[in-house]
């Protein structure tokens, strides 16, 4: 497991997207430590009466030259609301990098990176790492509608992006499982690396199982510590309860009771 740190980062960019998401760019005071794709951070929230615990946020991108990492956050509650109010120059304390991330070594030569909604967040750094390793990844993103497709330009710089939207405003109409990439060509992929809403991940996992394609999913359970001590974020596995924070968030689907 990679060494973890607790560090005060500085907000160097904070961009609201569609009033529903915020993209934070955070600068490390020195060199960034090693970070795996699919790992997450625990963010210390700004002082507030209504928020007490840290918030787990997956790592969207890492830029070693600028000593920055990016977080793509959906504003859903008190905590994420506070994060959306951060401005350039603010300090933000992170405990990171947490969890195990995706298994790059097992992803194979042609992995399909499947993201739903804000679940696309970890796919940017993941895609870059896979390309660095010489793989030819492809993206498959699902969203409610056009405006739910996040950071498309960035993703397209890395690899082909397949799209489905529930209202059909872009790409294939329906869910990611309705896309030909999964419906007909799933066997052409070396593995599926998935992050998104639970029903979507379960549907993709079922298709992967049926096709005998390796599949990893990134879970998002409510957690306190982020380092495997509070045991609040457990998920049921064939070996009993496991912590999503320290033994996940990424699990190979055959570990799970799906």
């Amino acid at each position: 497991m990679l060494k973890r740190f607790t560090t005060d980062f500085t907000v160097v960019a904070a961009e609201m997207i569609d009033c529903e998401y915020v993209l934070l760019t955070l600068k490390h005071p020195e060199q960034l430590p090693e970070i795996n794709a699919g790992q997450f951070v625990e963010v210390k929230l700004p002082d507030s009466a209504t928020s007490f615990l840290r918030r787990p946020i997956s790592i969207h991108d890492v830029n070693r030259d600028n000593q920055t990492l990016q977080l793509l956050i959906r504003v859903v509650g008190n905590g994420t609301k506070l994060l959306s109010l951060l401005t350039i120059g603010d300090k933000l304390n992170l405990v990171y990098p947490l969890g195990n991330g995706f298994s790059l070594d097992k992803a194979g030569n042609r992995p399909l990176l499947v993201g739903g909604g804000v679940g696309v967040a970890p796919m940017l750094y993941l895609g870059k790492r896979l390309v660095e390793m010489g793989a030819q990844p492809e993206f498959l993103f699902g969203a409610r509608n056009k405006s739910g497709l996040l950071r498309l330009a960035e993703f397209e710089k890395i690899a082909k992006v397949n799209i489905t939207t529930e209202d059909g405003s872009v790409g294939t109409k329906g869910f990611v499982t309705n896309h030909s990439a999964i419906e007909s060509n799933i066997a052409n992929y070396s593995s599926l690396l998935v992050c998104g809403p639970m029903p979507m991940m379960k549907a993709v996992a079922a298709k992967a199982k049926a096709a005998g394609v390796r599949c990893e999913v990134s879970l998002e359970n409510k957690m306190a510590c982020g380092i495997g001590v509070c045991l609040c974020c457990v998920t049921e596995t064939k070996e009993g309860h496991k912590c999503v924070c320290s033994q996940g968030p990424v699990f190979e689907i055959n570990e799970l009771k799906w």
């Binding site: 615990l53 409510k222 001590v229 609040c232 309860h241």
Partner: protein, 304 residues
């Protein structure tokens, strides 16, 4: 140079800051962040005779300046602990205590006697106050007779320092503490979590799978402080104070109220380095107030 050491009825602590069971894993989860051996002691997570899967997810609710958990003593059992975890703990040059829990007196006794054989474990914290298990746990800790009975039973088989962890969910925690003392406890630690509940108003469902759970965090500090003050003036054995300690000032308040040492729990989730900051903060306080040792601070509340 101030003296931070505390003699907890025979258990020697290099400083009064320990970690609360269930919030610090087995210690090594924090090796990346702090020098665990620099603490007065660590209390590793609740261990039972048989392995336990714990309660179903979700187990967590955030509350105003606090949280509710319902883990339910998930652990791999005392055999696994002795074989696979204990060897990793002997590297620590501080006190490693094991929090012992169970459902029946026999379970507790068997588990404690197994821990008794581990040379590098100088003490156990007997958990008769877990609110998140159906049987045992808090049931023992809410009744003085049951408390004295189980403590006496453990005392027969456990020959090192026996600390008993008390629940705040009682009419008189003083009566429970006296029962633990009568049963042969070497010290008492308090408070365990307060039984609380959280509801998702929009879905009209409980937030956690067990409906109710144990509340901890800054919100409970005033209740914990009151109980530590009451108990430390009612029993002769030392009191270890915990409950909502988030910083050094909180820890100092518990020592002033009569605690001989403190445990830091939920605060570890918010800052994994908080324990060492609290040790430093207590030292700063003593120096600022021209005190030579932490013993001058303990039970120093002036009530005229």
């Amino acid at each position: 140079m101030v003296d931070l050491s505390v003699n907890l009825n025979g258990l020697q602590l290099k400083n009064p800051v320990m970690t609360a069971s269930g919030t610090f894993g087995y210690g090594y989860e924090y090796d990346d962040f702090i020098d665990v051996s620099s603490l007065g002691g660590i209390i590793v997570k609740g261990t039972t005779l048989a392995p336990r899967e714990g309660n179903a997810y979700p187990r967590l609710a955030e509350t105003p300046q606090g949280m509710i958990n319902a883990v339910g003593l998930q652990n791999k059992g005392v055999d696994y602990f002795c074989k696979n975890i204990y060897p990793k703990l002997t590297k620590y040059t501080t006190n490693v205590l094991v929090n012992v829990s169970g459902s029946t007196i026999d379970d507790y006794v068997e588990c404690a006697s197994r821990i008794n054989e581990l040379d590098a474990i100088p003490a156990i914290e007997l958990n008769i106050s877990c609110p998140n298990v159906k049987h045992g746990g808090m049931a023992f800790g809410t009744n003085p007779v049951a408390t004295e009975e189980i403590v006496s039973a453990i005392r027969k088989v456990y020959h090192k320092h026996l600390m008993v962890k008390l629940t705040p969910n009682v009419t008189s925690i003083v009566d429970i503490a006296k029962a633990a003392e009568a049963g042969g406890a070497d010290s008492v630690s308090l408070i365990n979590t307060l039984l609380g509940m959280a509801i998702d108003a929009e879905r009209r469902r409980p937030v956690i799978s067990t409906i109710t759970g144990g509340m901890s965090g800054a919100a409970v500090k005033p209740i914990a402080l009151r109980m530590v003050w009451q108990v430390s003036h009612a029993v002769k054995i030392p009191v270890v104070g915990l409950g909502g300690i988030m910083n050094a000032t909180d820890a100092v308040e518990f020592l002033i109220a009569g605690a001989s040492a403190v445990e830091v729990g939920t605060a570890n989730f918010i800052d994994p380095t908080i324990t060492v900051k609290i040790v430093d903060g207590i030292r700063d306080y003593l120096e600022r107030h021209n005190m030579n040792s932490v013993s001058e601070l303990i039970d120093s509340l002036q009530t005229e």
